[in-house]
Symmetry: C2
Subunit: 105 residues, 2 copies
DNA sequence: CGAGTATATGTCACAACTGACATACGCCGC
DNA sequence: GCGGCGTATGTCAGTTGTGACATATACTCG
């Protein structure tokens, strides 16, 4: 990982490092990251199921292609708010979101 | 509702008004608000089940009493991130959070 | 009635997120 | 190889969220 990215991530509040360092995450932090990852993958699934490009999806969400890419990557600069609101806007139901979150990692 | 509060809410991005105006929310916006409300009530349940005060809870979350109050009220100034991270920190599991979100309004 | 405790609301300086833009990477058909 | 397309990454100005503090309301116990 380049230093620039690490700086950005750390400013954004994540502990950053190689795989071994993940053990330093508290259980809550780990659960939160996994939860975000699950929603991120679901967003990609939803988009793929419709056959849309990130650019088309971005237009639909009134956002930008880069933000959609970051959402799907569960980038630390993406909030849960944005992820969930995007999923709902793309047609997921509240129950769908709940199911994805509850599903084991 | 006092004007001051209405101003604050509108600055925070909500459409504000009496009950009838809620019809102006898009379905996604409504679902998002309900989802937040469900988590907010769950936070209060969790706290009450432990017999903690908001102040004690705030210390545990490294936040302030006022923010806990706002979380439980699903105040627009509270993000989903904060709500979910708080629930996890208070002992809720990822599955618990998912279940609360999925549950019908 | 106070004093004490729990919760709610208003405000602000500072930190984090967002959309947009630029640019880079990877893949495919020509 | 090159151009086009889809996706990924870096950056930044403007907006929004956060913790803390002050203050307000509400309830209980002497």
């Amino acid at each position: 990982m380049e230093d620039a990215k690490q700086d950005r991530l750390e400013r954004a509040g994540w502990r950053v490092g190689d795989a071994g360092d993940f053990l330093e995450l508290t259980p809550e932090e780990a659960a939160f990251v996994e939860l975000k990852l699950a929603l991120a993958f679901y967003l990609r699934e939803l988009r793929a199921a419709q056959g849309w490009t990130q650019t088309q999806t971005a237009r639909r969400l009134r956002s930008s292609q880069s933000r959609v890419a970051k959402m799907e990557a569960a980038d630390p600069s993406v909030s849960l708010d944005l992820l969930v609101r995007s999923l709902l806007a793309l047609g997921a139901s509240r129950a769908d979101v709940g199911r994805v979150i509850a599903r084991a990692a």
